[in-house]
């Protein structure tokens, strides 16, 4: 087995600027970065925020990630949603106005395997405008099937690019394989998935070093898969089942600095902020660099139809405001919340070579 790191993870010629921006004691003050980041965001994305919500399909898991509430050694009750239950959850989400859904599972298990995921994607794509997936690493062929079922994007976090830390944290299961995971976004894009969302779980290792590696990964994907849409999330470790204590603390100031630095270094990528963060931080960052946010999130399996469900989520939500309250806050900042920013017509694998040039079926639902 080749255990060498790929060449693109080596320092690149164009990363001096982002490294400097990421450093709190650089000549780039936070205020300076914020002003530039805001101007770029405004020009490129306007005064809008695209909204999505996560749907946890299953919390079965085969991996032992030390920091995760769904790790296979936790006593959390295990459950997966059946297709009828998924439809009910989607209906509850649609009543909130959501039309862009992120489907989540744990690592691959018999209870939640590829066939289950593909069926669930098709179920969701029948109801929702845009369906993306955050699940387990798959093969190129599986990703193509997923794209054909209506999945347009995947999210796959490396969690940390520090290989030694990675080894310690991923105690068992398929996720233990660092290189296998590193290669996953490439396989997805090769399989015709249109967008890949990357991120590190901030707090697991040196945040600035992880951010630089993440930047290299994004540049590599952008150059190799030129059609790819890329997004970056900035999840900080939140309290969850198992009460893992992260070795690094990422302050609000540092997180803001990272977001601004990525916006300036990668002006066109989507930057995502979830309900892990506080209402004050989310409201503050809206318009300054973030272009996509989750809303009204439940991180429990079945959480939309049964908000009181007793089982514990993957992590604790910080911003638990209602859709109305959150949208009101955005509007007060002169930012339009956008629920639908996609159309069914654009589903399907990315590469045009395999497309029919003139589809006959006109009656596709918008």
């Amino acid at each position: 087995m080749n255990t060498l790191l790929p060449e693109w993870l080596n320092p690149a010629a164009d990363e001096a600027r982002i490294r400097e921006m990421l450093s709190p004691d650089s000549r780039w003050t936070l205020e300076h970065l914020a002003a530039q980041s805001r101007a770029i965001t405004l020009r490129r994305f306007g005064r809008t925020m695209t909204l999505y919500a996560p749907l946890y399909l299953s919390n079965h898991c085969s991996s032992g990630c030390a920091y995760c509430g769904f790790a296979s050694d936790r006593t959390t009750p295990r459950r997966r949603l059946e297709q009828e239950e998924i439809r009910k959850e989607l209906a509850a989400m649609k009543r909130l106005g959501i039309s862009d859904v992120l489907l989540l599972t744990g690592e691959r298990t018999k209870a939640a395997d590829f066939d289950y995921l593909r069926t669930s994607v098709a179920t969701a794509a029948a109801d929702m405008q845009r369906v993306t997936v955050e699940a387990f690493p798959m093969s190129v062929a599986e990703y193509r099937e997923l794209a054909e079922a209506g999945c347009t994007g995947i999210t796959i976090y490396q969690e940390t690019y520090d290989r030694a830390r990675y080894g310690e944290l991923h105690r068992w299961g398929p996720k233990k394989e660092f290189l296998e995971r590193l290669d996953t976004p490439s396989r997805a894009l090769e399989g015709g998935i249109k967008t890949a969302g990357l991120g590190v779980l901030l707090g697991l290792a040196d945040p600035q070093e992880d951010a630089i590696m993440l930047y290299r990964h994004l540049r590599h994907l952008g150059k190799t898969y030129w059609r790819a849409g890329l997004s970056v999330s900035f999840p900080r470790i939140r309290p969850q089942t198992g009460s893992y204590q992260p070795p690094f603390t990422v302050s609000d100031h540092l997180l803001a600095r990272m977001i601004f630095a990525f916006r300036i270094a990668l002006p066109d990528v989507e930057l995502v902020l979830s309900t892990r963060e506080s209402p004050a931080f989310r409201d503050g960052m809206a318009g300054l660099g973030i272009t996509r946010m989750s809303i009204a999130s439940r991180t429990t399996v079945g959480g939309y139809t049964d908000p009181e469900s007793g089982d514990q989520g993957q992590f604790d939500i910080f911003d638990d405001r209602s859709v109305e309250a959150f949208c009101k806050a955005l509007r007060e900042k002169n930012i339009e919340p956008v629920f639908k920013n996609w159309a069914h017509a654009y589903n399907g694998p990315s590469s045009p070579e395999t497309d029919e040039r003139a589809p006959e079926n006109v009656n596709t639902w918008n």
Binding site: I335, W342, V362, N366
Partner: protein, 259 residues
């Protein structure tokens, strides 16, 4: 007053407005009204029949005197754009379609090959096809031959505010075209829109510059005035630039007086 002709449609306004990126749909609607635009583009992906608050199509179609031009922004292939165009026509009833195909959602550069393929198909199906293209004079002629109602070359990258970075290519496209040339994307200020019109564009399309302005309706009005002034100037015949001084000792004195 001369008009802009696109298919069987006639417009007195030569400012086409885009409807994305605004802070709210009410601000957007105010800007559309203030602009006096009669042709307005809206993305199919922003049609939302299930949630009126999130929908851009219905409130726009309620403004009197406006023709809507759906666009396929979000499509990355010809097949997707064709599918989106057909759905847009069913939903909006408009024969116009702005073909926008950007395979890379980051930089939003139009794909010439896919755009040509989709435009050819849609023109045959009777659409008034308005393709968003790189400023490529040959592609513009190919699209004219394919039956497009206009061509919409970019002034510079979408949302970049770099103005008419492609001016030299635009001049060739305008000079050679038998269909209206509409500069789309990159315009930052009314003076740039005026310049595009002075160069002989049939119209300009503006979105970001209005949407992110401090006062979008006022900026929309400013663009409308600049577009009208630029067009009037073009029609009136703009004097030639002549930076050349005439030599005091004539270079051609040796030729003797003309007979």
């Amino acid at each position: 007053m001369d008009s802009l002709h696109l298919g069987s449609y006639t417009f007195s306004s030569r400012l086409i407005l885009g409807t994305g990126k605004f802070s709210s749909s009410s601000v957007m609607l105010e800007a559309v009204k203030a602009s006096g635009s009669q042709l307005v583009t809206v993305a199919l992906r922003r049609f939302n029949r299930e949630q009126p608050e999130d929908d851009l199509f219905t409130p726009l179609s309620a403004i009197p005197g406006i023709t809507l031009m759906p666009n396929t922004s979000g499509a990355s292939t010809a097949a997707e754009a064709v599918r989106a165009a057909r759905i847009s026509r069913e939903l909006s009833g408009s024969p116009f379609i702005k073909v926008e195909i950007h395979p890379n959602p980051q930089h939003l550069m139009p794909d010439s090959i896919e755009t040509y393929e989709a435009s050819k198909i849609l023109a045959k199906e009777g659409f008034l096809v308005m393709p968003y293209i790189p400023a490529d004079p040959v592609l513009a002629k190919r699209l004219e031959e394919a039956g497009c109602a206009s061509v919409m070359p970019l002034g510079s990258a979408i949302g970049s505010g770099q103005g008419l970075a492609t001016a030299e290519m635009l001049r060739i496209i305008i000079r050679e075209s038998n269909i209206p040339v509409i500069v789309d994307a990159g315009l930052r200020s009314p003076s740039e829109a005026a310049l595009a019109m002075e160069m002989g564009c049939g119209a300009v399309l503006v979105n970001s510059a209005v949407a992110v302005a401090g006062d979008p309706p006022a900026m929309a009005e400013a663009f409308a005035e600049a577009v009208a002034a630029g067009h009037k100037a073009c029609r009136a015949g703009i004097m030639d630039k002549s930076g050349m001084a005439v030599a005091t000792s004539p270079l051609t004195a040796f030729l003797g007086p003309a007979s």
